[in-house]
């Protein structure tokens, strides 16, 4: 790559403008080969008598989208990357200390390395456009901001704000960015270049002074040694509690920031360069990067040529799921007929959506009129009127085959003959729902996860009869709704519910054997799940659990050799335990607020599991027994052809069920630890508990051949 392939320079009225425009790419990225292109930039600006100040601006719709992540995969051993970081530091340092002040003009995304380049500039002007956002997403890839971000960010916006940005990776939009001092000025995109030029000249003339308004408390916490040590200590404690030490990037980010603040920038940068490379070589980082690529990959529709555009949707069932699916649709300009049997349900669905829209209005991410327009895209109704106009129907009615078949029949009577019928069932086989359909080729499963606006996964379930264009169109719809889609084949429980059911069943069996519910939760959280199985059962609902226990998945499980299941969920449900829904479940709930009492098990429940005396187990034993039940089942899904690829299995488990993200998913985890080790664990469990722990054939094959599941 030459300089011209990355940037060009124009000069006018004493201001040199560096126009970023990486050749052959949609966005500007920073990779090892890019760093060198800026090596003599500061020198050439300083040596040009015409130039008094400079502006760094992008010709693309984003400023700089971040680092070139592909290049991270090349790093295999210590020393592969550290020199690159150090060279980057050197060049940014040179720019920061240049006699010619450079001002970054930010429009669109300035992420990771992009933001770090902007931070090394003498000033920053951002466009007020909603697309303008700044963030340090490195932590999500298991690494840290390696372009002096851990040093410059706390110095510019203060320790608290900088840590928040770096530890969460969240986006900072233009208005808050200005407020926190991340940028110096906000202007309309049309005035961005002009404003940046002017700021650059003012800095060159020494007329610009950055003022920071801070509350007294923040001045103490950010500005004094004592305050900072409190902030750092709190950050360590809080993040350790959340990550259980599974994400090495988190403490290292705090380390770098602390080192820099205590020992000066130079030492801080050295720490940053060292730790960046260390992190890059961790399994966690590699796993998180694989998820990033997987997610990017799943945002592209492999069947796009067959897809029909969906602009008009009918949602049957306005409960929590129905409301969520409606929200992610109407915000993407898809019209929705929201049908239910009760007006009140529709009203609460609308209230729920409005609450979420109002939050966006408050954050200035939406104008009020836009929120009203979005709200206008949904029409509530109790009948099937206008269903003849819609492209797709998604049903989220009560989970009963008979009812779903009835809804399908009623819909078929009123829709045109190209209208897709999607079921948002979490467990019922789509083939059964479609059994009496007049047009089974139009029937498909769209399994969303609750809460829909937050959960990124959509599991699309096709039957042998589902038409290709139907799959393609639903994939396209899912992408439009902001979802990461996997396509799986129809079978009891599909993929996600099936592996979850196996996992939950095992957790219940352990309770019956006398395990402590709280320990099951805490062990699995340590293993990396965001919530433990017992909490999850209360959240999802014991009614749902009971339903699954009576359903096709359990039936399928029971046909296997040595299978063991428990009907305790059914008994609990019949005894009136529904979980959080009716404040009666595994946990205790506050009688007034209805909130779950943390860490307090409802002892009544233990009566169903042989009394309240519980025995302490090894965490690792719990993790192996539950974790490998799920992993074994996942491999079985690939063996059965429910899953079409191991990558789908990883994406589905992580984004749908919260399978520990730092492992990259069950299949990448197997590749990391070795299938033979998994087989050994399962075999030892089998000895104790019988054939249900039989490692599945595919797993045994891989263990024998040493082949990997993922080509990553």
């Amino acid at each position: 790559m030459t300089k011209q392939d990355y940037y060009t320079i124009t000069k006018k009225d004493g201001v040199a403008t560096i126009w970023l425009d990486q050749k052959g790419e949609k966005v500007n990225k920073v990779g090892p080969e890019v760093v060198g292109l800026f090596e003599d930039l500061a020198d050439s600006l300083e040596n040009d008598p015409e130039v008094k100040a400079a502006v760094l601006i992008s010709k693309k719709k984003d400023f700089i989208a971040g680092a070139d992540i592909d290049s991270f995969l090349e790093v295999k051993k210590p020393g592969d990357w550290k020199p690159i970081t150090q060279k980057g530091h050197q060049i940014l340092d040179r720019m920061a200390n240049s006699k010619i002040p450079v001002v970054a003009a930010i429009h669109g995304a300035a992420l990771g390395a992009g933001l770090e380049i902007a931070l090394a500039c003498a000033g920053r002007v951002a466009s007020s456009d909603p697309s303008t956002k700044m963030a340090f997403p490195e932590v999500q890839l298991g690494i840290l901001p390696g372009g002096a971000g851990t040093q410059r960010a706390p110095r510019l916006v203060g320790l608290q704000k900088a840590l928040d940005m770096m530890l969460t990776g969240r986006n900072i939009f233009s208005v808050p960015a200005k407020k926190m001092g991340l940028v110096d000025e906000l202007v309309h995109p049309s005035k961005l270049h002009q404003a940046a030029s002017k700021l650059a000249l003012r800095i060159a003339e020494g007329k610009f002074k950055r003022k920071r308004k801070q509350k007294l408390l923040d001045k103490f916490l950010d500005g004094t040694a004592l305050g900072r040590s409190i902030v750092i200590r709190t950050a360590r404690k809080k993040t350790q509690a959340m990550t259980k030490g599974n994400y090495p990037a988190v403490p290292r980010i705090i380390d770098c920031v602390e080192t820099g603040l205590k020992k000066g920038m130079k030492v801080g940068l050295e720490a940053e360069a060292t730790k960046f490379e260390e992190l890059l070589l961790t399994k966690a980082s590699r796993a998180l990067i694989s998820l990033f690529f997987g997610m990017t990959d799943k945002k592209k529709n492999p069947y796009s040529d067959k897809a029909k555009k969906i602009d008009y949707l009918a949602m049957v069932g306005a409960g929590f799921m129905g409301a969520g699916i409606t929200e992610v649709s109407i915000t993407k300009d898809i019209d929705v007929l929201l049908k239910d049997i009760k007006d009140e349900t529709i009203t609460s669905a609308k209230k729920l959506i409005w609450k979420s829209l109002k939050k966006k209005v408050r954050r200035k991410a939406l104008r009020k009129t836009q929120a009203e327009e979005i709200m206008g895209n949904v029409k509530g109704q109790l009948d099937y009127s206008d269903f003849d106009n819609v492209d797709i129907i998604i049903e989220a009615v009560f989970e009963a085959v008979g009812l779903k078949q009835k809804v399908l029949a009623e819909c078929e009577a009123v829709t045109h003959d190209k209208c897709i019928f999607a079921s948002n069932t979490s467990a019922l086989p789509i083939g059964k729902i479609a059994a009496k359909a007049k047009r089974p080729e139009l029937v498909i499963g769209m399994h969303y996860f609750s809460p829909v606006p937050k959960m990124p996964l959509l599991e699309i379930v096709k039957t042998p009869k589902t038409a290709d264009w139907v799959v393609a169109s639903c994939f396209e719809l899912g992408i439009r709704q902001g979802k990461t889609c996997i396509v799986v084949n129809d079978a009891p429980g599909f993929y996600t519910t099936r592996i979850l059911a196996a996992f939950m069943n095992e957790a219940l069996l352990m309770l019956e054997e006398g395990a402590d519910a709280l320990q099951l939760d805490s062990a699995m959280k340590k293993w990396g799940f965001p919530v433990g199985p017992i909490t999850l059962m209360d959240e999802v609902g014991i009614d749902v659990g009971a339903h699954i226990a009576k359903g096709d998945i359990t039936e399928a499980f029971m046909q296997r050799e040595g299978a063991k299941s428990t009907d305790v969920m059914v008994k609990l449900f019949e005894a009136g335990f529904h979980g959080r829904k009716n404040k009666k479940g595994f946990f205790q709930y506050d009688s007034k607020t209805g909130k779950k009492k943390r860490g307090q098990i409802n002892n009544e429940v233990y009566q169903f599991f042989g009394g309240s005396s519980r025995k302490k187990l090894e965490d690792e034993y719990i993790q192996n027994r539950l974790g490998f039940t799920m992993i074994n089942e996942a491999v079985r899904c690939l063996e059965d052809g429910v899953l079409e690829s191991a990558q789908d299995g990883d994406i589905g488990a992580v984004f749908g069920l919260g399978f520990p993200p730092f492992t990259g998913g069950p299949f990448l985890h197997l590749d990391t630890i070795g299938a033979d080790k998994a087989v050994a664990i399962l075999n030892s469990l089998k000895e104790k508990y019988g054939a249900r722990f039989n490692p599945c054939n595919l797993l045994q094959e891989k263990a024998k051949s040493g082949e990997k599941f993922r080509n990553f």
């Binding site: 602009d311 008009y312 300009d333 019209d335 007929l337 007006d343 529709i346 009203t347 609308k350 209230k351 409005w354 009129t369 009203e372 327009e373 709200m375 206008g376 895209n377 029409k379 509530g380 109704q381 206008d386 003849d388 106009n389 819609v390």
Partner: protein, 427 residues
């Protein structure tokens, strides 16, 4: 007409008495709901719409081209031009007619037309004297000027100037004008009350049968999202005895018009979708009616303010060579029961026909069994800018329900205008 133009469907919000649930809205939002409802009902891709024309009477300065705001928020793309028209109570008729003319002249193939009125949000301003002071105040300089301005203000300046529903030239309210009309055309109080009662009873029946529901979209407003599905002006228990007890509202001494036999202030929006017949075919849309013809008329402001339906009916019959007996469905806008009865008397009068309409004999006696069978503005309500679109939709829907062929609709308007349109059932 030179092109076959068809009516696909219409949609309106529930009509609510002024000061009701729409009080927090601006009028464009009522237009938004009506247009969005129409789009969802017909399933047409908003990109197909070439033009939007909306009528309104009390316009809001902030949204002076209310058609644009309504269309944009309803999801019609910004590339579709929008215009707002005003012709008092026939503003929506004017909007639809302008749409027809755009299609005929080749400017558009597909038009959304209708109107809005939010009388609950009428822009209340200051009187002329205060407006003048405020206008000058924009150029104030320095403390001295400001003080001078402050001392120039009088308590009376702060009195709000409400827009009055009155003729600007004659300074008479419409009620007063209607009083003149009923005296001249010999309509008594009992006839008016009987007609008003009929309107409410028929509307109540139509509501019960779901006919009115079919014209409507549900409205539900944040933050409570209570579903509004019905017009709230219809009083099924209205009868002549009850109405007879009311006092005259406009002429306390000799008058016969009461609040009960006059239309009430109403908020609402309505829209219709029209296009060429070929376009409907190519889009796979099933038209409900063909637009046969339309006319506008103007009358004397002195004593014929509300006689528009008579003049317009007479003219459109002449123009098309049709007679009253050709119609299976007739829909007149009911501003006042007195205005309807006066028009019916005028239409039936040979003398009026000779003197005013240039006809040998009367247009004819109104066949009441075909007339406003689903109620009218007296009962359903009359959002000035929107009523016209309701009339067109109701006429078309009635033609289908009653299996008729031709439908006639007519309306009067302030400014002494009249309008009539003929639809043909092609469903």
């Amino acid at each position: 007409m030179s092109k076959n133009i068809v009516f696909i469907d219409g949609c309106r919000t529930p009509f609510l008495r002024s000061g009701g649930a729409y009080i927090d809205l601006m009028s464009y939002q009522l237009g938004q709901f009506a247009i969005k409802g129409l789009l969802l009902k017909t399933g047409i891709d908003p990109k197909e719409i070439d033009s939007v024309v909306m009528g309104t009477v009390i316009s809001n300065v902030q949204t002076s081209n209310v058609a644009r705001e309504a269309a944009l928020t309803a999801g019609i793309p910004y590339s579709t031009p929008c215009q707002t028209v005003s012709q008092a109570c026939i503003s929506a008729n004017r909007a639809i007619s302008n749409g027809i003319m755009e299609i005929m002249s080749g400017q558009a193939e597909v038009v959304v037309a209708g109107g809005v009125e939010n009388t609950s949000d009428s822009p209340i301003g200051y009187k002329k004297a205060m407006r003048k002071k405020l206008f000058k105040a924009q150029k104030l300089k320095g403390m001295g000027d400001s003080l001078k301005f402050l001392f120039s203000l009088r308590p009376g300046d702060f009195l709000p100037d409400r827009p009055r529903v009155a003729e600007y030239s004659t300074n008479r309210t419409m009620g007063q004008d209607c009083e003149i009309l009923v005296s001249n055309l010999k309509v008594n109080r009992e006839e008016q009350d009987a007609f008003a009662a009929r309107s409410h009873q028929l509307a109540a029946k139509a509501m019960e049968k779901g006919h009115l529901q079919e014209e409507m979209c549900e409205v539900s407003l944040p933050p409570k999202f209570k579903s509004i599905k019905k017009d709230n002006g219809i009083r099924p228990d209205t009868n002549e005895e009850k109405l007879a007890r009311l006092r005259p509202a406009f002429d306390k001494k000799y008058g016969s018009l009461t609040a009960g036999n006059s239309s009430f202030l109403t908020d609402g929006g309505a829209a219709v979708l029209i296009m060429t017949e070929e376009k409907a075919k190519s889009l796979g849309l099933k038209p409900k009616a063909k637009i046969v013809d339309f006319v506008f008329t103007g009358q004397s402001l002195e004593d014929e303010l509300l006689l528009g339906p008579t003049y317009a009916t007479s003219r459109i019959l002449k123009k098309t060579g049709m007679s009253l007996s050709d119609f299976d469905v007739i829909e007149f806008h009911e501003a006042f029961a007195g205005q309807i009865m006066a028009n019916l008397n005028a239409l039936a009068s040979d003398e009026f026909a000779r003197k005013k309409l240039g006809r040998e004999i009367a247009v004819g006696k109104m066949p009441m069994e075909k007339f406003n069978l689903w109620g009218g503005s007296l009962s359903i309500g009359h959002p000035f800018g929107a009523t016209g679109a309701r009339l067109v939709t109701t006429t078309a829907n009635r033609l289908i329900k009653e299996k008729g062929r031709y439908g006639l609709l007519a309306a009067c308007a302030a400014g002494a205008h009249g309008h009539a349109m003929i639809l043909e059932n092609i469903s």
